[in-house]
């Protein structure tokens, strides 16, 4: 069996030790194992559902090479993706779905990208990145020489009111870990986090919240939402202290809070008491945003804010983030999507292997520059 798996890995052109446990592998390698599993069963059709969602550009390259090989061996591939550039890169035909029904199928050469977007959204999309240029205000977040052994080292940066600062870099470069440390989920070994001139002492999410930080995590299902709570209970969850009167918590006040934010964020839902898992990904993300915005944060950290959500909602999430910045909130945005980073950020911090490799201003930022810094070619 080991020999067989080694042979399949070789065919795929990947270098994984068959004896290793799947648990410690990177997401990309785990995917390769999944693909190898399909091949070992002589699969003629392979369905890939958002295979690149958690991959770095480099890993996406490798995956696409493998996909190319599979095609040549006569395997049919159904590639499900939100990333349209990828669709153009590796697909021959595209089928567009909207709200659970078929819209159209075209050869990739016959359809332009804005045509695809229009079909997906069902209307014209004014702009995907509604970025307003504004004057940054006073400093809100200051991170100094932050270090967590084995994860990130000597990180210093600041975010001002009204500014959107992007934290870029390959998956695994320590972006999310920095955010988690700032928000008090993980401890750090050295350095300090200062919010509005006050140093955060100790680490707990509760303290970070009191200091005015909100955190929209990358994984909605595992960390963002309580899936079997209603929309209203989810929105209220981070504001329970404010909403309750002594020990008592009145549902009407939770409901009012949720209704207010549902309206502001144009949430699409049946009833506010509907469970979060009945919503689409994009609307779930809006509920997570509402939960944090309800606490009126001074600084909001958004980790992969538009991962796995449809193009229409994506532009709405971008609009929400831009509105926040305009209203004077400091925004720290982590993203693996370069267009999103270049489209939304005032400044781009590029991480590489746990260290801050570069800081690039909006006017100077290009895909090449960011990628070069992220891969260490500067």
């Amino acid at each position: 069996m080991r020999k067989q798996s080694r042979a399949i890995f070789e065919q795929l052109g990947v270098d994984i030790d068959p004896n290793r446990k799947a648990k410690g592998l990177s997401v990309a390698d785990q995917q390769m194992v999944e693909i190898a599993k399909a091949l070992s069963k002589d699969a003629r059709v392979v369905v890939m559902d958002e295979p690149t969602a958690a991959l770095s550009p480099e890993e996406v390259r490798r995956l696409f090479t493998v996909v190319g090989n599979l095609r040549q061996r006569g395997v049919a591939i159904l590639f499900i993706s939100h990333r349209l550039e990828e669709v153009y890169e590796i697909c021959q035909r595209v089928t567009i779905m909207r709200d659970g029904s078929f819209v159209r199928t075209d050869l990739i050469g016959d359809i332009k990208i804005d045509e695809i977007v229009r079909s997906m959204v069902g209307r014209d999309l004014s702009t995907l990145f509604p970025k307003t240029v504004i004057q940054a205000g006073a400093e809100v977040l200051r991170v100094e020489r932050l270090t967590r052994e084995g994860t990130f080292y000597d990180i210093s940066f600041s975010v001002n009111a009204g500014e959107i600062v992007a934290l870029s870099g390959l998956v695994g470069s320590g972006r999310t870990e920095i955010a988690r440390a700032i928000f008090g989920i993980d401890r750090y070994d050295a350095g300090s986090v200062t919010v509005n001139g006050k140093k955060l002492k100790g680490s707990s999410p509760l303290r970070a919240m009191h200091a005015g930080i909100g955190f929209v995590p990358e994984d909605r299902r595992q960390q963002g939402l309580v899936m079997d709570f209603g929309i209203d209970h989810n929105v209220a969850l981070a504001s329970l202290g404010r909403l309750s009167h002594g020990l008592l918590l009145f549902r009407s006040s939770e409901h009012a809070l949720a209704a207010d934010w549902a309206l502001k964020l144009r949430l699409k839902y049946g009833k506010l008491s509907d469970e979060a898992n009945t919503l689409s990904g994009g609307n779930q993300q809006k509920v997570v945003l509402a939960k944090w915005l309800a606490g009126e944060p001074k600084l909001i950290i958004v980790d992969e804010p538009t991962r796995g959500i449809d193009v229409g909602t994506k532009s709405e999430v971008h609009r929400i983030i831009d509105d926040l910045a305009q209203s004077g909130v400091a925004v720290l945005m982590i993203s693996s999507e370069l267009p999103e980073i270049l489209g939304m950020a005032d400044r781009v911090l590029v991480m590489r292997e746990g260290r801050l490799a570069a800081t690039i201003n909006r006017s100077d930022a290009t895909q090449e520059l960011v990628m070069m810094a992220a891969t260490g070619q500067v």
Partner: protein, 346 residues
Amino acid sequence: MSVTEEVITSEPVKTHRVAETLSRARELAIVAVILVIFAITTIKSPGFAHLTSIQQVMTNASLFTLLAVGETMVIVTRNVDLSVGSTLGISAFLVGDYFTHNAHASIVIAFLIGIGVGAFCGAAIGLIVTVTKVPSLVVSLAALYIIRGILNIIGLGIQIEPTAIPLSFQKIGFETFAGIPWIFIIPALVALGVGFSMRSFRSMRELYAIGSNPGAAQLAGVPVARRVFTAFVVSGSLAGLGGVLFLSEFATVNATAGSGYELLVVASCVIGGVAIFGGSGTVIGAALGAILLQIINQSLVVINVSPFWDSALAGALILVTVSFDRLLSNRATLALRLKGSAARGN
């Protein structure tokens, strides 16, 4: 599809939730089953429809009702407390010991001792669970044996006799108020009180969030460790109170008191609709589950079916209720999802 139209869907503040509707349905279903069993038993053996039988069911169910309330709080947080039987035993024994050695013992102090002993056991378990992050299944299983072991050592060969227990205390075990045994009134009040707070207290809402998604709860600033700790303390305290009631009912106690209660308590919770992996279920449901198990037990005796069927029936009941639950909740979620996409405009 126009955005404004969909957004302004106003709705009445009265809301139903899937989980809530299900637990309400579950509570009603259990009440219905209890009534059916009562009716069948009465037809088979007309003497059953007598106040004494009903009082007997209440008395038998009282300890399990009480323990199921505390257990529900723990299970809702995605934990479990298997030590409640042992805790009840050691509490009953120590309170009995107190009466034996104090000629002018006070009933109030007896209650305080029992609850205190229970709270101490619960706090110890809660502390170990929250600090070491060892699964509570393991910690409370260890506690089950450790507490029982201690009880065996201090209670070796000792049988506390009814003569040592003041009559006024024993009256809790057999006197009634408006036809209801005092020993059932106390757990019923506890269940109603905790049931109300589970619905309306902030800290209790957080218990559900912890059980449903610990990661999200932590990120939302819920003090996860403190809440889980509290749940164990409450569960332990109620087991301690259960020990006091045990002593008042039986007036005699030895080192085996409360052995094996823990699984019946967990069974009561599960039958009562408490999800074993946390996040949903009600205290009232669990209490009704405890009563249902006891009435089955007693009606088997009355209609002359071998009591050995009791366990098999309890097991079957667990399977039926849980499978039924799963079916219902899948359907309800599906229906909502369909409605949700309808609301999204297609």
